[in-house]
Amino acid sequence: MKRLVVVVLLSCTLVLSGCWDTREFKEVKLGITAAYDLTEDNVYTNTILIPNVQNSSSAGPGQESVQFLTATGGTPQEARANIDRRLSSSYSPSQLDVLLLGENLAKKDIYPYIDAFYRDPRLHLDAVLAVVKGNAEQALKVVPESEMRPSEYIEGILESNVETTRSMEVNLQTMGAEIFENGQDFVVPAMQVGDGGKTVSYEGLALFHKSSYTGKDIPFDHTTLFLLMKNVKGKVASMTTKLYDGKEPQPNNYVSVHVEDYTSKIKSKPSKEHKVRTDINLEMTVMIEEYPTDDLSLSVLPRLTKDIEKALTKEASDIIKTTQDADCDVFGIGRSIYGHYPDYWKKLDWDKIYKDIEIVPHIKVNVRTRGIFR
């Protein structure tokens, strides 16, 4: 009898305590992609993309249609509430996969707009970020008809570029620490609306300092080398480099290599001249993928290797210069100094001196395969 009473009471605590917080999946509208913008007069707008599914009863998963809603508000939460007012069921950003930031907003401090993600446990921390040149809302509203699932268009672009080592995955989780870390900055993929508003393209990596966009980017054709230096590689990596000038026809000036293996080491130490000296040692084993000159005998190879190394080193210097101009310590040199020379670090005003430190790239290339017929 006693046990029965206990069982009844226990089940009462479950059922009657009012903590039945069930949130039914069919009663929410999920935002898959969101765009945050600042208009010219500094008004914050939030646009979301909501996928809807048509004719569920027939066979197959059903056709997907998308719905866009734009709202303004003082904070993202207020904008969210304003969106909710116009929806038949409540809006939930808990499946948010992509967060697009307009250029204007990104150039200001982005943290206030993403703060909620670090507080509400129901929000996805692995939502990826992207900066849109111009208006993010415009990019969000690009819905190519050829796509099976319009809601996944932008995410697909970002993901495929991560796979080919042209971009790196930057989500709220990975950048969360780096926003406040002194001596470590981050990059975010940059996108642009093209083809007269019909497509969105990936443009390179936007350099951030602290929590705002510096306005400078690593251009698309330099991203692979940059990522390899940063020790990030997707499934495949290949680079096309301009070796010579003035050869005819035009393609003969270039070589494409496929990176099979690489090691990248970044070593920093204090130096008298420039306060800090950093060596970036990148060693790659590559396969020649494209070399229209087609003169690849073993005797030519050492020279070609030298040329590639030279060209890549120049590219690397350009990249480093861009980051230093942007004051974006994306290689985490400051953190490395802080870790290895904490006393020395205390004497430095990192934000000021980063522009002037010496960063030297050393790039070594081993050609392993010249092609399948060679």
Partner: protein
């Protein structure tokens, strides 16, 4: 559990006297009086035949329906002719001066021979054998291996076991239960391998049963099992002699029943319900794979619906993004919350299953098609249940049928309900709590005083979660605490070379 406590004031009634405990009634020298007494005791039953031999000085009494005329001819009349009607010179007989014993013998199928002027009753065993032939049990088919099975005759069953274990240590103990039914049961074990404490415990429990009628093996377990209020079976029931033999050799006890092909095995662990004779007849890698599939289906069958309910009702963040629109499309137009959907679907499925069992087999398959296809399709089109829920419930019940033991599979299907409730109230945490309670319950359970959910130690893994090759199974299961813990189990001296 005061709810189930029996009322104190039980009706006062005479206790039934069992046939073997009826006080002796001395027979007289008068044939007429003896016959009259037997007739009276047998309530003048119509099948009681009294055959007076020619000079009316001798009588043969038997129950028509359970005696074999051929046997009577062979064992009584033919010898009588040879001995010129002198019953005392026939050797194959029993004698008694107790008429009540004669009545008991009649009921067993013996014939009673009475002679005028002689107080002795002569008893002849002319019982008719009525038993099925040995067939493979329908509910425990195997692909490879022996295809015989127990039948309703306890003698045949013991015969099947004795033929498999030809050693003097195979011990059979017979007992009868039930004041009216006097059902015979036999405890079979291998002496020296079995733990004697367990044998004593089982004997003690069986002897404490006091009932009018023992009707089935299932009823028997309810008298003696450790936890009647548990959903899990604590006796393994099988109709396969090969399985019984294997379990006997592990040091377990088999209980056979007269008029029942079911053999109960105790003590068992939870994992014994997941073993089949097929496991030992296929290659060990395949057998291991099948074991893992079965354990996986165990987890699947109790958690899949609750997992689905929790995901739809609480944690839709975990749905992979590619699945969002298919899931959304499936559940958008469903009127009921997922718990109602699940319960509805489970009940429909059970109704179909129950109907298919009761119907004769030609109609049964029709029911399967009507129930499965038509209702399944229509219920989705009507928007009562989402097609995802149909998949979930169908998969769940399929997974529960993977368990080789019928009782265990029933238990698993019933366990779905509490877990669904828990997950509908608390989400993933609810499932966690539910599984926790289940685990606590399983760990507290005992089978004949030995732990039911024996912790999986590394050396017991060999024949529970996986099955290793025979020569690596060197120890009997730890749970049983057998006096012979090691099996003689190795390759020959020269490793078979």
């Amino acid at each position: 559990m005061g709810f189930f406590k029996q009322k104190k004031e039980e009706a006062v009634q005479e206790t039934v006297i069992r046939e073997d405990k009826v006080p002796p009634h001395q027979s007289t020298t008068s044939l007429e009086k003896n016959i009259a007494y037997i007739k009276e005791e047998m309530r003048n039953s119509a099948d009681l035949k009294i055959r007076l031999l020619p000079d009316s000085k001798q009588a043969l009494i038997f129950l028509d329906d359970i005696t074999d005329p051929d046997k009577m001819q062979r064992y009584i009349f033919e010898p009588l002719l040879k001995t010129d009607g002198d019953i005392r010179r026939i050797k194959d007989r029993e004698e008694s001066n107790d008429l009540n014993k004669a009545v008991a013998a009649l009921i067993e199928g013996k014939a009673v021979y009475l002679v005028e002027g002689n107080a002795t009753c002569y008893l002849f065993n002319v019982q008719m054998d009525a038993s099925r032939t040995i067939m493979e049990p329908v509910n425990e088919k195997v692909i490879k291996g022996s295809h015989d099975g127990f039948n309703e005759d306890i003698k045949t069953n013991i015969n099947l076991i004795r033929r498999r274990i030809q050693h003097r240590s195979l011990t059979v103990k017979k007992m009868t239960i039930g004041d009216y039914t006097e059902s015979e049961i036999a405890m079979v074990y291998v002496d020296g391998v079995v733990n004697q404490d367990v044998v004593k415990e089982l004997e003690k429990r069986i002897s404490s049963i006091n009932t009018d009628a023992l009707l089935s093996a299932g009823a028997f377990t309810e008298y003696i099992e450790d936890r009647t209020y548990s959903i899990f079976p604590q006796f393994l029931s099988t109709e396969r002699p090969d399985k019984t033999t294997a379990l006997l050799m592990e040091g377990r006890i088999a209980i056979l029943f007269a008029n029942n092909p079911t053999c109960l095995i105790a003590p068992v662990t939870f994992f014994a319900f997941y073993q089949t004779p097929d496991d030992y007849n296929t290659r060990w890698i395949v057998a291991t794979y099948l074991r893992l599939i079965r354990l996986f289906s165990f987890i699947l069958s109790i958690t899949l619906p609750s997992f689905y309910i929790a995901v739809i009702g609480f944690h839709y963040e975990v749905i992979p993004e590619q699945l969002i629109s298919p899931v959304l499309g499936a559940i958008r137009d469903i009127a009921y919350p997922p718990l109602v959907e699940a319960v509805l679907m489970v009940i429909i499925l059970e109704v179909i299953r129950e109907a298919a069992i009761r119907l004769p087999s030609p109609i049964g398959s029709t029911i399967g098609i009507v129930g499965g296809l038509v209702i399944g399709d229509a219920i989705v089109t009507a928007g009562l249940v989402s097609n995802l829920m149909v998949i979930v419930i169908a998969l769940t019940s399929l997974a529960s049928y993977v368990v080789p033991s019928n009782e265990m599979s029933d238990a698993l299907r019933l366990l779905t309900f509490p877990l669904c409730m828990m997950s509908a109230v608390l989400g993933f945490i609810g499932i966690g709590f539910g599984l926790l309670f289940l685990l606590i319950h399983l760990c507290r359970m005992e089978s004949l005083g030995l732990s039911y959910f024996t912790p999986i130690q590394f050396r017991d893994i060999k024949d529970t979660i996986i099955r290793v090759p025979q020569f690596l199974m060197k120890r009997r299961p730890e749970q049983l605490n057998s006096p012979r813990p090691y099996k003689s189990n190795k390759l020959g001296e020269n490793n078979g070379k």
